[in-house]
């Protein structure tokens, strides 16, 4: 299993942060596990925003998921059902 390219991940995170700042929100990297799961945490205005799952799907995953070694992106505090995840998959494509 390829190792997560952390330098590239952090570079992408910076861009996502800049974009979310536009809405007074942001995101921070919480952890990167050996199996390629990246956990992020929404901060600022994103922390209490009900659209977090949409932002996770349409923006965060879209911009981070093809970083080498990343197998899954989860957001702490975004607790939704697999059915809702499925509905949101590919949003913005």
């Amino acid at each position: 299993m390829p190792v997560v390219d952390k330098a590239e991940l952090e570079r992408r995170m910076t861009v996502v942060q800049n974009l979310l700042n536009w809405h007074l929100g942001s995101i921070e990297l919480a952890s990167v596990s050996a199996d390629g799961t990246v956990k992020v945490r929404f901060t600022g205005a994103c922390a209490g925003c009900p659209l977090k799952p949409v932002t996770l799907s349409a923006t965060v995953r879209r911009l981070l998921s093809d970083v080498e070694g990343v197998t899954r992106i989860e957001a702490i505090g975004v607790n939704i059902s697999p059915e809702a995840e499925l509905s949101l998959a590919g949003l913005g494509d």
Binding site: V15, L19, P50, R62
Partner: protein, 354 residues
């Protein structure tokens, strides 16, 4: 257009997301290039500028000739890749001291150019945060700043509406808040909007209640008030206020987005709104561009029905075609005095790409 209904987005936070547009936020070239590449994925085509070519020795950027390409990309995003016909674009706090956007003038310039290119489709929803608390700006905005910003946005950039973000101030404060509405009205703009029911940062939740709009509604009966975000927080208060005050309308974001991934909740909340407020006071919004293209959300809303158990158990009415048409655009068109049928004909007669 969806089922012959005009689709008029009330909350399109459209802006120049290229590195050029974010010039003050990004100073590192590698970061800029990454932004260009990644924003391109979000909105398509917007990031095709090699901005380093437009950087002066002093580190500032001049507007590249390809700026028009950015406008084209945003046009495609909203009106070609999504079934939208019109949009109220903007709705972000724009204050001279700079809070949410590092370069308010550039943002306003982008909106102005975009409107100039597509005047049939776009209105500009300006905004201001007189508290200066949003974004933690180091130089807090003031009432004076906000009054100047309102004047600038209306007189120089043609704002059709001004949105307020009440953080740390009450909307019915006659000394602090009323001058904002009076200034707006004195410049010929009679649609004002309020961010409510959705705390932005760590302000007290009760400051986000809609209660203080009741007095505003009574004291400014000739103005139209768009109350954003009828959600779980203060939902029934919001319903009651919209029900009884003829000049208050509800902007149903992110409720419309719930149609896609929280459909049962959308059914329940829309059921209450249809039953107690009526679709002629309900308005949708995409909240684009950062939450993605709204096509899937609009598809989900088009299919959304009030199920039998909610009709039987709560007495909610079923959505009618007219309800959907109102929410998708007719209500907002009415707010801005736009004749829906005439607008549909006008847009149908435009050449491709307009």
């Amino acid at each position: 257009m969806i089922n012959d209904a005009l689709v008029f987005d009330s909350t399109l936070h459209l802006a120049d997301l290229s590195a050029e547009g974010l010039e003050n936020a990004i100073t590192d070239k590698a970061e800029m290039d990454a932004t260009v590449e990644l924003t391109n994925r979000l909105v398509g085509g917007i990031g095709n500028l090699d901005l380093v070519n437009y950087r002066s020795d002093d580190g500032t950027y001049t507007l590249p000739p390809e700026f028009g390409g950015t406008i084209d990309a945003m046009y495609s995003w909203a009106f070609e890749n999504a079934p939208m016909d019109m949009a109220l674009v903007g709705n972000a706090p724009v204050i001279p001291t700079g809070a949410i956007l590092r370069s308010p003038q550039k943002y306003l310039g982008f909106i102005r150019e975009f409107r100039k290119a597509h005047p049939e489709r776009l209105l500009f929803g300006g905004g201001t945060d007189p508290s200066g608390q949003l974004g933690g700006t180091p130089t807090p905005g003031t009432l004076k700043d906000s009054l100047e910003s309102i004047e600038l946005q209306i007189t120089e950039f043609g704002a059709d509406s001004i949105k307020f973000y009440p953080v740390g101030w009450r909307c019915d404060d006659e000394e602090f808040a009323y001058p904002l509405y009076e200034k707006t009205r004195s410049l010929g703009v009679k649609v004002i909007q309020f961010h409510k029911n959705l705390p932005t940062l760590r302000e007290n939740v009760e400051s986000q209640g809609p209660h203080d709009l009741q007095q505003v509604s009574r004291d400014f009966p000739d103005m139209t008030i768009l109350l954003h975000h009828p959600l779980q927080l203060y939902f029934f208060e919001t319903v009651s206020i919209a029900q009884r005050n003829p000049n208050i309308y509800l902007v149903c974001t992110p409720l419309i987005q719930y149609s896609l991934y929280r459909p049962r909740l959308a059914q329940e909340l829309f059921g209450h709104l249809l039953h107690e407020v009526g679709s002629e006071k309900l308005i949708w919004g995409s909240e684009g561009v950062l939450v993605g293209n709204p096509t899937k959300i609009l598809d989900a809303f088009e299919k959304l029905e009030i199920p039998q158990d909610l009709r039987e158990g709560y007495g909610f009415p079923q959505f009618t075609e007219q309800d959907k048409a109102n929410i998708l655009g007719a209500t907002l068109a009415t707010v801005f005095g736009i004749d829906v049928e005439a607008k549909k004909k006008e847009l149908a007669g435009l050449p491709a790409g307009r």
